[in-house]
């Protein structure tokens, strides 16, 4: 591979010339998956960081969806051209964390670069999702979201109901009333995330063996549970009765009819808040994710979703320092508050949350606080998160089988049996890739 060496040498030479010219700034790159309005906010953060000092320069690059960003990051790592920072979403966390040596744990990185890292600075709900089995934080939770119920205030007023707390209430009261008022009562945007992963967390049910997968890669999924099968049987019934609408597997398919005012309530991400402010032409607010009273009387907190920033290994100390500086900047209370305000993603530190409260943000937008309140609910045994490999494919399997349930091709019994079998096969394949 002589050619490669020459190319690399040339790149290094060019790089040193370029950086010498630019006041010896250390340049780092950040690959992310934030499109649209979120992408603009990311660009703003980067621009602000660059303007705040003269030593480092960060360039964010939009790489497409979450899955594409992860794949691009992996391929570039294999080729030795990885970015300094890679945004990895919840479902990809296991892949990155299982590959020991691919990333620098953010906890170590910050400690080595003079940022006194204390995991207790972070709000309870986000501390351990991206941590290893020993509780060391590996990825920096960045856009942390949680599923919340958005509702069209006009629609609920017209129907004379309030946002449902439980699914029983929705089934017997809210749903039929909204339907009578001429709306499609409910839609949602991510069946695996909202109605599976967070279903298990909200009802404090075990999602996978070995401590939800955190303790080992020899893990088995416990998705085939009577409670969730009942839930999906109910969903299909609701769809047939016209109190639940399903418009496709992509996020926008289901958010659009809500933003258009056709659907009265929509289960989306707390991070959808900023986008909805721009697109919805009616007053809306949000409430916590409903739960089944018949399953639990004391609902628990939900997992964080969204994504984390991972510092890729194989970079020079100077660049790692720049990455650490950027992380410090990003976790500062003001930066977190700005991000929270613009997007609706939850602030990840206690300090930022306090700042938002003090600034009166939640007096102006009560809906913006729902997500963080939900993440701060009492924790249960199974609310820390989950860690499973090839989880992107497992989600694809779920999406497929849920599609079959909702179109009447399969009943919940058959669908969940398929998910369990295929997911366990994938998990065992993943376990063998790491051995």
């Amino acid at each position: 591979m002589k050619f490669k060496n020459i190319a690399a040498a040339a790149a290094i030479a060019w790089g040193s010339v370029a950086s010498a010219a630019a006041y010896a700034e250390t340049e780092i790159t950040w690959w992310h998956a934030m499109g649209g309005q979120l992408g603009e906010t990311v660009n703003q953060i980067a621009a602000d960081f660059n303007a705040s000092q003269n030593d480092y320069k960060i360039t964010p690059v939009y790489k497409g969806g979450y899955e594409e960003t992860l794949t691009a990051g992996i391929a570039s790592f294999r080729a030795g051209e990885q970015p300094n920072i890679l945004q990895v979403f919840d479902a990809g966390a296991a892949t990155v964390i299982a590959a020991k040596g691919a990333v620098l744990p953010v906890q170590d990185l910050l400690n080595e670069n003079g940022g006194n890292f204390d995991i207790n600075d972070y709000i309870a709900g986000v501390r351990y999702f991206y941590a290893d089995a020993n509780g060391k934080m590996i990825g920096m939770p960045f856009n942390s979201s949680t599923p919340v119920l958005y509702y069209n205030e006009e629609a609920l007023k017209k129907a004379g109901v309030t946002a449902p707390k439980t699914w029983e209430e929705f089934e017997t009261k809210t749903g039929p009333a909204l339907k009578a008022a001429g709306y499609v009562p409910l839609s949602q945007s991510h069946l695996p995330w909202i109605f599976t992963e967070n279903f298990f967390s909200r009802h404090d049910l075990q999602f996978a063996s070995d401590n939800n997968g955190y303790d080992s890669t020899n893990v088995e999924i416990k998705v085939n549970h009577p409670a969730i099968k009942d839930h999906f049987t109910a969903l299909k019934k609701w769809k047939d009765e016209g109190i639940f609408g399903f418009y496709g597997a992509s996020w926008g398919d289901n958010q659009k009819p809500f933003a258009e005012g056709k659907v009265a309530m929509w289960l989306g991400s707390s991070g959808s808040f900023g986008g909805l402010l721009q697109t919805a032409e009616f007053p809306f607010s949000s409430a916590m994710l409903p739960y089944w009273e018949k399953v639990t009387k004391s609902p628990k907190q939900t997992f964080i979703g969204g994504a984390a920033l991972f510092a890729m290994s194989g970079k020079s100390d100077a660049e790692n320092k720049a990455t650490a500086e950027f992380f410090k900047y990003l976790t500062s209370a003001t930066a977190q508050y700005d991000w929270h305000k613009a997007t609706g993603y939850v602030p990840i530190t206690e300090a930022a949350y306090e700042l938002a409260k003090k600034d009166g943000h939640y007096d102006r937008f009560p809906a913006a606080e729902t997500g963080i309140k939900q993440l701060s609910l009492p924790a249960g045994e199974w609310t820390k998160g989950y860690r499973m490999g090839f989880y992107v494919q497992i989600r694809d399997v779920m999406n497929r089988e849920y599609g079959r349930i909702l179109s009447g091709e399969a009943d919940a019994e058959e669908a969940f049996k398929n998910i369990e079998e295929e997911a366990n096969k994938l998990l065992s394949r993943f376990a063998d890739t790491t051995s």
């Binding site: 499109g35 649209g36 926008g252 398919d253 289901n254």
Partner: protein
């Protein structure tokens, strides 16, 4: 290619008269079928164009439009010149340039290496001729799509991602062009080489002075096919270009659908349709204007 409407009024008119009525009815049916067929082909793109002249709120509410709106300048201006992304350097114009470089680079590169390779195979007594032939033609077996992951790694490991070289070379690595020129050279009369040899022309001189000039039409024809093929590449550019300034216009189309699927903003339907129209215009114009070369290239190259 001869034009298909080579009418011969003298002969036909004598035949037409006795059954003029019958012919008339059947020709009405023929024309109706052809008009319906033409509309079927034309409508989707035509409606993309008319839709692209409306503002996105109208489109959002009323769907595809058949009338011409008043937002032509705004939407096309935005699609062509509005800069997006962090670096604020990628606009429709940049993407068009990249597509142009990919299309032309691919076509020229492919033609040059295939003419050379086909020349070597056809005109030289080569020890490993059969082996070389099979090494080259086995590549017909395996489209880039099925070996895309390792190809991606190879290009990456040479540091060629986000370069035109990395974009173009792996696409060239197939034998379609070579196969085509081999067939063509085989049909060139042997007398030409013999005459050239008698005149004392060496292999280089024969190639440049005789073979290339007589291949001109063929080269033009294959150029059009290859240009369209290169311009329309989708998966490969989507994987290998991560730097926004390297995006091709077809890669830009992918960003539209992603924005559509994410649903965070009201999709800019008008601009999206404008970009789609801009993306199809150059190859369509080339195919329409150089129709006879294009048809020749297609029919010959696929044989």
């Amino acid at each position: 290619m001869t034009d298909m409407t080579s009418e011969n009024p003298v002969i036909l008119s004598s035949k037409e008269k006795p059954k003029a009525k019958k012919l008339k009815l059947s020709s009405i049916i023929d024309h109706s079928i052809l008009i319906i067929g033409s509309l079927f082909m034309l409508m989707p793109v035509l409606m993309a164009f008319t839709t692209s002249t409306h503002d996105h709120v109208t489109i959002h509410k009323e769907g595809l439009m058949l009338s011409i709106g008043d937002q032509f300048a705004e939407n096309y201006g935005a699609a062509m010149f509005e800069k997006g992304g962090f670096t604020e350097t990628v606009d429709g114009l940049t993407m068009l340039m990249n597509s142009l470089i990919l299309g032309i680079g691919f076509a020229v590169g492919k033609i040059v290496i295939s003419v050379l390779a086909a020349y070597a195979i056809v005109y030289f007594r080569l020890k490993f001729a059969t082996l070389a032939f099979w090494i080259i033609f086995t590549t017909l077996l395996l489209p880039l799509e099925v070996r895309i992951l390792p190809s991606y790694e190879v290009v990456h490991s040479f540091g060629l991602s986000n370069t035109y070289t990395g974009l173009i070379l792996p696409l060239i690595a197939s034998a379609t062009g070579t196969f085509y020129f081999r067939q063509f050279f085989m049909s060139v009369p042997d007398e030409l080489v013999e005459a050239a040899k008698i005149d004392g022309a060496g292999p280089f001189k024969f190639l440049i002075d005789i073979l290339v000039p007589i291949s001109k039409t063929m080269v033009a024809a294959i150029f059009i096919i290859m240009f369209v093929f290169g311009w329309n590449q989708y998966l490969w550019p989507a994987l290998i270009t991560t730097d926004e300034t390297m995006f091709t216009i077809i890669r830009g189309i992918r960003q539209i659908i992603l924005a559509y699927a994410e649903g965070n903003n009201i999709p800019e339907h008008g601009q999206a349709m404008a970009l789609a129209v801009i993306a199809v215009l150059p190859p369509v114009l080339i195919v329409v204007f150089f129709q006879s070369w294009f048809v020749k290239g297609l029919v010959e190259s696929e044989k």
